[in-house]
């Protein structure tokens, strides 16, 4: 889910710029706009066709007027952030490659993807690109060796996810706990509150699960999938992609709230039995 303080929105309107299709939409106000990436489900299935009037948003407890709701028409930036530490060697690595390829197969025209691999080394397999063949080749040449810098790599994925237009999904896969990162979990969770990227974590294995990945997913409004085996990893990755594509990008121009600091968000849908998932808040001005 996406929260963005659209600091440039006013300028864009003043100069008369109209965002072309596929770019971040501009907003109907000369004040900052906030975008919130929202998942709405009912009985586990995404709810489609909602309009602005269907949403109720409170910013620090103050009801806000939803201006715009968009969904599937926005292109996606998918940052595959994949654990290639030694514990993934063997069959799990092949499952991981296959799952990565499945995501790439599920992308559409206008979408872009990037690949970050990590062991103790954080490495760019491929930058954000519509050339999925390049990412496939990078996936095929990846090797599983070394420790796990999950925290560093998650940070890199978020920064990469912020780097362009569209909605950004950072899909982080890991089968272990961080053992080599320089950045602290607190630092990166703090950045997550300021980022508009949405992190979906996939945590594999029976060993103790990383709190960090759960916290990161929660903070960004994403979700953590826990799986015991990587056997069906492709299906899990495709579920993530499908779910993310069916999320709404809800925007509003905050009124009656401070322009700074942490803003607690409450997002509801005026429909019975609907489940709403959105980030719990955002840092204004960050």
């Amino acid at each position: 889910m996406n929260v963005r303080l659209q600091m440039t929105a006013a300028l864009l309107l003043v100069t008369g710029t109209v965002a072309p299709l596929g770019q971040t939409p501009t907003f109907s106000s000369r004040v900052e706009a906030v975008r919130v990436d929202v998942l709405v489900t009912q009985d586990g299935q995404p709810v489609r066709g909602l309009r602005p009037a269907d949403f109720a948003i409170e910013d620090n407890g103050v009801p806000q007027q939803v201006d715009l709701v968009s969904s599937e028409q926005l292109p996606l930036n998918v940052i595959l952030t994949l654990d290639m530490s030694s514990s993934v060697a063997g069959e799990p690595l092949e499952h991981l490659r296959r799952a990565g390829r499945a995501v790439l197969d599920g992308l559409r025209t206008g979408d872009r993807a990037a690949l970050i691999t990590f062991s103790h080394v954080v490495a760019m397999g491929a930058p954000l690109t519509p050339d999925f063949g390049r990412i496939r080749r990078a996936l095929d040449s990846s090797e599983a060796i070394g420790g796990t810098s999950l925290v560093d790599a998650s940070y890199a994925g978020m920064v990469l996810g912020e780097s362009d237009v569209g909605r950004s999904l950072v899909l982080v896969f890991s089968d272990g706990l961080d053992s080599a990162a320089w950045l602290s979990t607190d630092d990166v969770l703090d950045i997550a509150k300021r980022s508009d990227a949405v992190v979906y974590g996939v945590s594999a294995g029976q060993s103790p699960q990383p709190d960090f990945l759960a916290d990161l997913s929660e903070t960004t409004g994403g979700k953590l999938f826990k799986i015991e085996s990587t056997k069906n990893l492709s299906a899990v990755f495709l579920t993530v992609l499908d779910e993310f594509r069916n999320r709404y990008l809800v925007s509003y121009s905050p009124r009656g709230v401070s322009p700074d600091g942490w803003h607690q968000l409450t997002v509801r849908v005026k429909r019975r039995n609907a489940t709403v998932k959105a980030r719990p808040g955002y840092f204004a001005g960050s």
């Binding site: 080394v121 420790g147 796990t148 961080d178």
Partner: protein, 463 residues
């Protein structure tokens, strides 16, 4: 990266229950880099607390040998002493190969035979000097005269009378240090089968194994140095060289027992305090804390282990105020405890006091973190940039710079700062970052220390 846990289940099923779970850990280092990033840490969290318990366990799972009467024969003792005399320190030679095939049981028996023979020989010398009595002593291999004993042990009448095996045990301790080193480096297969440990790689248990007994035997041998092992320079060097080597290999299991004995022997020596601090600092690290999650172990939380580490580093500095690396590690521990101003002061002092680029890198990288915590972004940026300049191919300073920019709302700056990381080669073999080696880097002088240790013994090798 993985670890393993204390796992008493097997021991229990064998009827030898460990009474507590002592943390035994080891990293396996990679030889291609000087400071060896772990090929994954191999952490070994031992189920067995002490050699006695370990002996029980080992015995329980194999055919239990009956302890022989001392001196049931002298052949084993002769073979061991011959190897001790003929081993060329630092070389994987015939004597080293021969003794590497011995079990812990055989090694202990040889050492017990030596002590028993010394006890008897002492009386024989006294009687001989008092009455000219040509005494003999019975062994399973037949009677030995005093001349036989002197020939076997190579000791003088005075040494025998005083039961002083110093010359033997020092050389023997060097042999067994070499054996432990060679086994750790994979140059020799271990048959001594000491305490049991678990192997962990990248956050998961990958097996279990017994560790070489040679360090344990070496400690026991050197305890017999006269007049006082705690006042002996060679013993001191043996402990520091071996502690450095264990640290460089991430062999925390061995290091834990080692530093405890070292501190007892040399309470006023800074090095013992320092390596103890390094041990607990490593226990506090995410790689170990991650490994022990959900397990029973005596390793404490990251906070408690870091506090212990800080205490040892303070003691190190109290004993040796010029011990710069202890200040570095104390600074990091203070930062972990939230004492950012104190931490920054220590780290700043280290950065300006040392010419060692490795320490400078660690100091600046850590200083940047503390300055950021203090709300000094410019100072933090400068420190991170100095770290980046010291090691341009390291990812950690760029990640830190990027995170700093992002923390202060500069998205473009965060992307720019991250770009060098993304531009670095993807292959692990083409990357380097001293941060990855931080927890083993305190052992980076192990080779030098081992060379110093071996040098005096090169001269006396018997052909």
């Amino acid at each position: 990266m993985g670890l393993s846990l204390s796992h008493d289940a097997d021991a229990t099923s064998q009827g030898a229950v460990a009474t507590r779970a002592t943390p035994l850990l080891a990293f396996v280092a990679k030889a291609t880099r000087r400071l060896v990033p772990a090929l994954g840490i191999i952490a070994v969290l031992g189920g067995l607390p002490a050699p006695e318990a370990a002996a029980q366990w080992v015995a329980a799972r194999s055919v239990t040998p009956q302890a022989p009467e001392p001196l049931a024969g002298v052949e084993r003792l002769r073979d061991w002493l011959t190897a001790v005399e003929r081993h060329e320190p630092g070389k994987v030679d015939g004597p080293a190969l021969a003794i590497s095939g011995w079990s812990r049981f055989e090694l202990d028996a040889a050492w017990a035979d030596l002590r028993a023979l010394l006890d008897r020989a002492s009386g024989m010398v006294s009687r001989n000097q008092r009455s000219g009595d040509a005494a003999t002593t019975k062994t399973g291999s037949g009677p030995l005269t005093l001349a036989d004993v002197k020939d076997l042990l190579g000791l003088t009448d005075d040494e025998l009378r005083r039961r002083d095996p110093t010359r033997i045990v020092k050389r023997a301790a060097v042999l067994h240090a070499d054996l432990a080193v060679f086994v750790s480096l994979g140059w020799l297969v271990d048959h001594s089968r000491g305490y049991r440990t678990f192997l962990v790689d990248d956050g998961r248990r990958v097996g279990s194994d017994t560790r070489a007994y040679h360090w344990d035997l070496g400690r026991a041998l050197l305890d017999a140095v006269k007049p006082d092992p705690g006042g002996d320079g060679m013993v001191r060097l043996w402990y520091w060289a071996s502690s450095a080597f264990m640290t460089s290999r991430g062999d925390l299991a061995a290091l834990e027992a080692h530093v405890e004995r070292a501190r007892n022997l040399f309470p006023m020596d800074a090095a013992g305090q320092f390596f103890s601090g390094v041990l607990h600092e490593t226990f506090a690290s995410p790689r170990i804390q991650a490994a022990i999650r959900g397990t029973t172990t005596e390793i404490g939380s990251d906070e408690s282990e870091s506090r212990k580490a800080a205490r040892f580093f303070r003691q190190t500095i109290a004993l040796d105020p010029a011990f710069v690396e202890a200040r570095l590690r104390l600074g990091r521990a203070l930062g972990f405890a939230g004492r950012h101003a104190d931490a920054a002061a220590e780290l700043q002092a280290v950065a300006s006091a040392t010419d060692d680029p490795v320490l400078q890198y660690y100091a600046n990288l850590s200083l940047g973190r503390e300055e950021q915590a203090l709300g000094h972004p410019d100072e933090a940026r400068s420190a991170f940039e100095r770290a980046a300049a010291l090691c341009p191919r390291a990812q950690s300073p760029y990640l830190a710079l990027s995170q700093l920019s992002r923390r202060y709302g500069d998205k473009a700056g965060a992307r720019r700062a991250l770009q060098p990381v993304l531009d670095l080669p993807a292959r692990e073999s083409e990357r380097e970052d001293p941060w990855w080696d931080y927890h083993i880097s305190a052992g980076r002088h192990a080779d030098v220390l081992l060379t110093q240790l071996r040098k005096p013994f090169l001269a006396g090798v018997k052909q």
